[in-house]
């Protein structure tokens, strides 16, 4: 596989972008940072499939496409299914020798938002992981249905206000916890599962390369701050991601073969979760005195989760 150099940013920047501008994602959206990084970390031909979501509606505004590779879109839940079908067809035709260029390396990637990964496409994704096709599924996790006006999804964390779980006099926003999708996918026995963030570009590029190299189904959950629904200034996208990884709201780690857990980033200055929550408009109501217990709960959940990750890293089970 032709992997491009990610020794430092200067080397990395010699790659030729295959994701074009003039898509209609919001200014400052992290989706396109993640997609560009994936497409720059390899020279191989890519077959990409995308679930319905912000990424799909914004990059294929008829009659334009922003993708310089093969790109498929069918249904809300079918990215995993369609890309695995393409992968099976490719391997059969390769065996028969009916491809135009039989030796050209091709990688199969599916993109989904958190709505289509955690809720709507979950069954299809789970099926594809179980069947063990050679593909990489990347979830762009912005914690709500941003494309349709910011409804709650099962990726929305506790305490956040969304258009269908609003904070007000009787409620502090969403009351349920976020689904731990990385653990669920690791439990499928996938050879490579990771949670990555765009602000740590190097660990992200390394993770993508590892996932593309690994044979079998790989799953990557990436944090994608949404300036429209998280309610912060577009210029702060990377700053918010820094706060998320440094407060351990989004720990960066990988799980190999379902048991070998490696923590990829340990913050030098561990931040309190208040710093992360306070930077966003969707958590503004939590700073009222009557909602203080929610912040305490979020902090204690984070501490427990971090303790669990560290113990799992040590134990290797």
């Amino acid at each position: 596989m032709a992997i491009t150099s990610i020794k430092n940013l200067k080397e990395f920047s010699t790659n030729n972008d295959r994701f074009e501008g003039a898509h209609t994602l919001c200014p400052g959206c992290a989706h396109s940072m993640i997609v560009r990084e994936l497409m720059n970390c390899t020279d191989d031909n890519l077959v990409i499939s995308a679930n319905t979501g912000c990424l799909e509606v914004s990059t294929a505004v008829y009659p334009f496409t922003s993708w310089d590779t093969s790109w498929i879109h069918i249904g809300f839940e079918n990215a995993a299914t369609s890309v695995t079908a393409a992968q099976v067809m490719h391997s059969v035709r390769k065996k028969k020798g009916t491809l135009k260029d039989n030796d050209a390396p091709v990688k199969f990637v599916a993109f989904g938002g958190d709505g289509s990964t955690f809720d709507i496409g979950f069954q299809w994704l789970s099926g594809a992981m179980e069947r063990g096709h050679d593909f990489t599924y990347i979830c762009l996790d912005n914690e709500n249905y941003a494309n349709t006006g910011g409804q709650r999804s099962s990726a929305t964390p506790i305490g956040a206000t969304t258009s269908t779980a609003q904070a007000g006099t009787h409620s502090y926003g969403k009351k349920e916890k976020k689904k731990d999708i990385v653990a669920i996918m690791a439990a499928h026995g996938a050879p490579y599962v990771a949670q990555l963030a765009p602000n740590k570009w190097k660990s992200m590029a390394k993770g993508f390369q590892k996932a593309l190299e690994t044979e079998g189904p790989c799953f990557i959950n990436t944090v994608s701050p949404c300036c429209t629904e998280w309610k912060f200034d577009p210029k702060d996208t990377i700053g918010i991601t820094d706060l998320a990884t440094d407060s351990l709201m989004f720990p960066i780690y990988e799980i190999i073969d379902g048991h070998e857990l490696n923590i990829l980033y340990r913050p030098k200055n561990l931040l309190k979760v208040e710093d992360y929550l306070g930077a966003q408009g969707r958590y503004k109501h939590l700073f009222k005195p009557e909602n203080k217990h929610v912040i305490e709960k979020i902090q204690s959940d984070i501490d427990k989760n971090w303790e669990m990750l560290q113990r799992r890293e040590e134990a290797r089970i």
Binding site: N16, E20, G21, A22, A30, R36, N45, T65, D68, K235
Partner: protein, 151 residues
């Protein structure tokens, strides 16, 4: 300053990005469509720079979103250290970078989100936001001095 026109494909930013120019009824819509991004063979596209590619009119590279912008980033080549932070985090593929050097900004695709200015590590910053109608020379003449470290 280097000539930026050389680093851009002649097809860049020809069209305004607008959809639904010809509206169809629900029963007239086709069930699916295939949009070729390039004219001819596209199998070696990863090894071609933008100026060497043969873009088709369906590629959004040939469209422009310049009208989204209220403020624009201006690049000062004298302060830049070519760290490429702006290149890796630009959401709109609008930083023109060739041979490990930052050359300038693609104003057809930039939406003015200011991410590049935020991640710029130099002192003073080598990218700053100016009004959309400001011309480049006046903007460069207003560049701030190096800030001293606060003790």
């Amino acid at each position: 300053m280097q000539d930026l026109k050389l680093k851009a494909n002649e097809n860049r930013g020809l069209h305004q990005l607008e959809s639904g120019k010809d509206l169809y009824g629900w029963d007239e819509v086709t069930q699916g469509s295939v949009l070729p991004s390039f004219e001819g063979d596209a199998s070696k596209i990863a090894h071609l720079k933008a100026e060497e590619r043969d873009y088709s009119n369906y590629n959004s590279y040939t469209a422009t979103v310049a009208s989204w912008r209220v403020k624009k980033p201006v690049f000062n080549i004298d302060v830049c250290i070519d760290c490429q932070n702006c290149w890796v985090w630009c959401p709109d593929s609008s930083i023109l970078s060739r041979d490990k050097q930052m050359l300038g900004i693609d104003y057809d695709h930039c939406k003015g989100c200011e991410v590049c200015v935020e991640v710029c590590p130099t002192n003073p910053k080598s990218l700053l936001m100016f009004g959309e109608n400001e011309d480049l020379e006046t903007a460069l003449s207003q560049w701030p001095e190096k800030k001293k470290k606060e003790k």
